[in-house]
């Protein structure tokens, strides 16, 4: 188990290493990188600043030295400096991170519960009216681009409500949990729903399929033959195995989300990582873009490691190997 985890972590480190190389190549060596220093320095930079940036990044040195410098910075938790904001990138990300985290975790809870439950029920009552309804709904939301859903929710629950004098949900922005928990919650409801409904649909489908497979497994038949209640058969025996693909998908999704729910944050103007990234892209604030891409990749990698660890907990065959 420990060996397994160590291996997994090493692999994660390796993946991150390659990601940094890719990022480095794309932004520093690839096309449009001719002006790295200028781009990095941001709007209104004086030639002096540009030269300074170039010097700091060792742009006058060979590529591998530059890369090593870049990596060295990363290893020391230094994601660079945003000349656009006049702030270290870490500072910017630290502000954005809680926003994204609140959004991601909340939505994840909703969609997991919603998706898994409806998936299980619809698998258990395969071909029933309920199953068909859930399947159709799942397909509908699964096909729904999140910005369409977000705009729709905004139109109804924010615009129309507010016109009607109901101020339940703000139209945009984010209140820090520490500042005002109630407002934090109110502000997150619509984004949560947007994110959760689309994902829940995918999870309903995933869970349903996986559950249908598992329900055909011999050991489920064994469980029934033991005289166990249907409830126990489904939740104790079938669901546990059916969750495996769900868990691995969940890890990946959560990782991606933690890296920024770009669309949802943009629709609802939440200053999370995704929104910050979009803004940074508009401003060509390269250090911030790079920082977010790296942080987001790291989130996915970490999520994958956690998934695998959880997998091992779930499945003794993995654990005991």
């Amino acid at each position: 188990m420990v060996r397994f985890l160590v291996r997994r972590v090493l692999l994660g480190v390796f993946v991150m290493f390659v990601v940094t190389i890719v990022v480095f190549i794309i932004f520093f060596v690839g096309p449009g990188s001719a002006d790295v220093a200028r781009t990095l320095a941001g709007r209104e930079a004086t030639p002096k600043t540009v030269a300074l940036v170039a010097h700091r990044l060792l742009l006058d040195r060979p590529i591998y030295v530059q890369y090593w410098h870049f990596l060295d910075g990363l290893l020391h938790g230094n994601l660079g400096y945003s000349y656009y904001h006049g702030q270290p990138v870490t500072t910017i990300l630290k502000q954005a991170f809680p926003v994204t985290l609140s959004l991601a975790l909340g939505a994840a809870v909703i969609w997991l519960v919603l998706g898994v439950l409806s998936g299980v029920l619809s698998a258990v009552r395969n071909r029933s009216f309920w199953d068909r309804t859930v399947t159709v709904l799942a397909l509908f939301f699964y096909s729904m681009p999140s910005f369409v859903l977000g705009l729709l929710l905004l139109y109804v629950f924010y615009y129309q409500f507010t016109l009607a004098g109901i101020h339940l949900f703000p139209g945009a922005g984010y209140t820090y949990l520490t500042a005002n928990p109630l407002k934090w919650f109110q502000g997150l409801v619509l984004p949560w729903i947007t994110l959760a409904l689309v994902s829940a649909a995918a999870y309903t489908r995933l869970t349903r399929g996986s559950m249908l497979d598992v329900l055909n497994e011999d050991y489920v038949r064994t469980a029934r033959s033991k005289g166990l209640s249907e409830h126990r058969v489904i939740y104790r025996h079938a669901l546990r195995s059916a969750l495996t693909p769900v868990v691995s998908q969940f890890g990946i999704d959560l990782g991606v989300l933690v890296g920024g729910a770009v669309i949802t944050e943009s629709v609802f103007g939440m200053p999370g990582l995704g929104f910050t990234a979009v803004q940074a892209i508009g401003n060509q604030d390269l250090p911030v873009i790079i920082g977010i891409v790296i942080v987001a990749s790291a989130a996915v990698v970490v999520a994958n490691i956690l998934v695998d660890a959880f997998y091992a907990v779930l499945d003794p065959r993995v654990r005991l190997h």
């Binding site: 993946v15 096909s143 681009p145 770009v262 669309i263 060509q284």
Partner: protein, 324 residues
């Protein structure tokens, strides 16, 4: 003895008409060999939802192809701006009327015509990018799964890495450092999308590789390329097709999302994502501007998804458990 339900169906059908001819002697009725494709096609034919969605898809394709006809019938070009009839003096869109069936956009253009033209972009990106993903993914997945060892290790790691990269973020950054264009959008989607295909293909190949018929082919002296493309590929074509058909709507949504974020296909090209993002500014005054492109997008993705589901059930009956 392991039978898959799909097999059962086939066997029993043969048995039906032939009464199962004893191998030694006894006349057998001649039955035309029914390929797995044909069986799948027949299953698909019986699935009403799939057929309806196929109809819708065909309709969308027709609309895309004949978008100029739509333009001709309405007499409104895609880029044609109706500054006086299609816009208020203050530049607001006008609502649906007999003149503009679906209203106009914020440049006084006919939304009907633009939605029709928008189908072209969505379909082109949906199909071409998916094709790109599938081709790259299949080749790499095949190579990884079949050759194993170092090739597999390398490709599998690359897949891991690509899958660890937050796609949308990377895509918008990539598009933003170059000039946005249709090609870039397609290439970027392709660059990131292949990994998922490769993973699926690799998994399939890994399990197929252990199949005895592969061993049989090797025993006959077949080389690796022949095995990969004659023996393995036809067996993963079905899952690939299913995957591709489910990838198309995903790709369409991604394209629309990029356009929505302003890094997609540049104006004045008619594109659903761009239209929705434009509409976001005025939807309180001009709901039609938001509604119709959104509906077009949604209908397209729903249709492709239903069809993809149906295709999967038809091609791989195990997934939907015929016998339950």
């Amino acid at each position: 003895m392991s039978l898959s339900p799909g097999d059962i169906v086939a066997i029993e059908k043969v048995g039906v008409s032939a009464g199962v001819p004893p191998p030694e002697g006894a006349a057998a009725t001649v039955i035309e060999g029914r390929s797995p494709w044909r069986l799948a096609y027949e299953r698909l034919r019986r699935d009403r939802a799939s057929m309806i969605s196929l109809g819708v898809i065909v309709l969308i394709i027709l609309v895309a192809i004949f978008a100029p006809v739509v333009a001709a019938i309405t007499g409104h070009g895609v880029y044609e701006q109706f500054r006086t009839t299609g816009l208020s003096p203050d530049g607001l869109p006008v609502s649906p009327s007999s003149h503009f069936l679906l209203g106009t956009d914020d440049q006084g253009r006919d939304i009907l015509v633009r939605v029709a033209y928008g189908a072209r972009i969505s379909l082109i990106v949906g199909v071409v990018a998916t094709l790109l993903e599938v081709v790259i993914g299949t080749v790499l997945g095949l190579a990884a799964g079949y050759f194993g060892k170092v090739v597999d290790t390398v490709i599998a790691r690359v897949i891991d890495i690509v899958l660890s990269i937050p796609f949308l973020l990377f895509a918008i950054s990539l598009v933003s450092i170059s000039h946005p264009s249709l090609t870039i959008v397609i290439v970027v989607i392709g660059i990131f999308g292949w990994a998922a295909v490769a993973r699926v293909v690799r998994g399939q190949v890994l399990s197929l590789r252990e199949k005895e018929y592969i061993e049989a082919a090797r025993a006959l002296g077949a080389g690796p390329w022949r095995i990969m493309f004659i023996d393995i590929l036809p067996n993963i074509v079905a899952p690939i097709i299913v995957y591709a058909s489910l990838l198309i709507p995903v790709t369409i949504v991604i394209e629309a999302s990029l356009s929505y974020l302003g890094v997609g296909v540049p104006p004045p090209t008619a594109d659903w994502g761009t239209m929705i993002s434009g509409a976001q500014q005025v939807y309180q005054q001009a709901w039609w501007y938001l509604l119709f492109p959104s509906a077009a997008l949604l209908i397209t993705t729903v249709a492709f998804n239903i069809f993809g589901d149906g295709l999967r059930d038809a091609l791989d009956p195990r997934a939907e458990q015929i016998y339950k």
